[in-house]
């Protein structure tokens, strides 16, 4: 259980930070004229799902023994 919670927790943290980082890199690469391949709405959705996943997993992962 703890192993699963740890995996979900780490994925959730990655889901919180990686999409905005990708958005930033793509936006800068695309310049003023272009638009990033990963739209901001998708970034926001992934972050929300990751947030829910984090708060579900964290109490198992970080449980005080």
């Amino acid at each position: 259980m703890k192993m699963a919670a740890t995996s979900v927790g780490l994925l959730a943290l990655a889901g919180t930070i990686v999409p905005p980082a990708v958005f930033m890199l793509q936006s800068i690469a695309a310049g003023q004229a272009g638009s990033p391949a990963l739209p901001l709405d998708t970034v926001k959705t992934i972050m929300l799902v990751s947030t829910v996943a984090w708060f579900v997993a964290a109490p198992f992962w970080m449980k005080v023994e």
């Binding site: 972050m47 964290a58 970080m62 449980k63």
Partner: protein
């Protein structure tokens, strides 16, 4: 990670409920990992969303923000390490018990009242910040959001938002410290990443990673805060905790004074990275939407625009996890002041005051001044402990004088504390001195006056005996 959290949970339980009137025994001492986690969580709060944009409003330049914040936070860490942690590990007593030995029990209650009231205004600011996250959940215009210039409530919907959030925070605070601390620890790593995510999205939208250029205000922007102002703000925004010695209560559990370095996690993640991330949010709105930096934009709207609902949840939780222990501590302070008052009644009183303060945006919008005043009023008490610990024997005054004499009210402490604070408040109100410049001179003056008054009192005692 779980070991760290286990330590943190025990640490805060111990700090809030055990060894309050005795030295912490060796078996209760904790390793450094617990302190790193605790400081990181405690200093990444909802108010960071206010402070970063307020720097932009005050026209802080890139050098001040990038170098000044670094220097100020470094000085804060050094103060924690070499002053607070050193005394904490040698004394192993809470601030309140140590102060009682020096100042007497009655004076400690007076200090507690000042502490409790200031805690209420601080928690009120956190309610204000959290309430700005409610607006984006409703159709535009339903709740009018406050700006930097707002001092009064913006309307009935705003008042209802603050009351609902404040009541929820108070009800959780009634449950005690443990639940809140636990949720705070769960949220801490995620919350920090949300701050960074806001910055990443903002940099992407602005099309550059040149932080120096972004943080440089447009030409003609009035600079209301200097490099020194930023350094002092970063150094003394937690003055009550380090030079004010409030963190004796936590660091007394440290095995070694080196645990004081753990404050670096809070300072550099919360008070450096998070502040700069939050500042970038307003810079984006100023550059892309033409928002006047003097008017600003509420944190809820900016965060929702950058990272969506995850950000709104962060604004609410960041305010909540820090406001809750603050309300709880304020309740304990009031309970100590009013004999016979239950903890529930005291917490509800504290919660009511916090909600009242939260409804008025004036406190949150003047946070840069407020934290300086907070430090100016509470930090000088720490100077008295510093004198008692390091200098008492050298300057010929007794250590722990109230305990020795059985006094419940040491007048030397009261005058040494209030005199510099009164002068500092006069300088702030009438001369416009930036509040963050005041905690250090106020503390030094308090320490010197304490030596003078204690020597005078000792001379009088000898004369009376003769």
């Amino acid at each position: 990670m779980s070991d760290v959290l286990h330590d943190v949970g025990e640490l805060e339980h111990d700090a809030s409920s055990e060894y309050e009137r005795q030295r912490v025994p060796p078996k209760a001492l904790k390793g450094p990992s617990a302190f790193w986690g605790m400081y990181a969580g405690e200093h990444t709060a909802g108010t960071e969303f206010m402070i970063g944009p307020l720097f932009v409003k005050w026209g802080a330049d890139a050098f001040s923000l990038l170098v000044g914040l670094f220097l100020g936070n470094l000085l804060a860490v050094l103060t924690w390490r070499y002053l607070t942690a050193t005394i904490a590990c040698e004394q192993r007593l809470t601030l309140y018990y140590k102060l009682e030995k020096i100042a007497g029990g009655l004076l400690v209650k007076f200090y507690n009242l000042a502490n409790g009231l200031l805690f209420c205004f601080l928690a009120g600011s956190m309610i204000t910040v959290s309430a700005t996250a409610v607006g984006p959940f409703f159709p535009p215009g339903t709740i009018e959001m406050p700006t930097f210039q707002s001092t009064m409530p913006t309307g009935p919907a705003w008042i209802v938002s603050c009351i609902v959030i404040g009541v929820a925070m108070t009800l959780v605070a009634l449950k005690g410290y443990g639940v809140v601390a636990q949720v705070g620890h769960y949220a801490a790593p995620w919350m920090f990443l949300i701050f960074v995510s806001c910055a990443l999205v903002t940099l992407g939208r602005l099309g550059t990673t040149d932080l120096w250029a972004l943080l440089t205000p447009p030409e003609g922007t009035p600079q209301e805060i200097s490099f020194l102002g930023i350094v002092c703000f970063a150094w003394f925004c937690n003055a009550a905790m380090h030079i004010g010695m409030a963190d004796l209560s936590v660091l007394r559990f440290a095995k070694k004074p080196s645990a004081g370095w753990a404050s670096a996690s809070g300072m550099f993640l919360g008070h450096y990275v998070a502040w700069i991330c939050a500042a970038l949010l307003l810079i984006y709105w100023v550059r892309q939407h033409g928002v006047d930096p003097q008017v600003g934009k509420d944190p809820g709207t900016m965060v929702n625009d950058a990272v969506g609902w995850a950000g709104l949840i962060c604004v609410i939780i960041a305010g909540w996890t820090t406001a809750n222990p603050t309300i709880y501590r304020a309740g304990l302070a009031f309970q100590a002041m009013i004999p016979g008052m239950s903890r529930v009644a005291a917490t509800m009183l504290a919660g009511g005051l916090c909600i009242a303060a939260g409804i008025f945006p004036a406190f949150a919008m003047n946070l840069l001044d407020f934290v300086g005043i907070y430090g100016t009023i509470l930090a000088p008490v720490g100077a008295i402990i510093v004198v008692d610990h390091f200098l008492a024997e050298k300057v010929g005054i007794p250590r722990d004088p109230a305990e020795r004499s059985g006094s419940s009210f040491n007048m030397a402490v009261l005058i040494a504390w209030l005199l510099p604070v009164a002068v500092a408040m006069w300088l702030y109100k009438t001369q416009g001195v930036f509040a963050s410049y005041l905690p250090l001179p106020c503390s030094v003056a308090c320490g010197l006056l304490y030596i003078v008054f204690s020597r005078l009192a000792a001379r009088e005692t000898i004369a009376v005996r003769a």
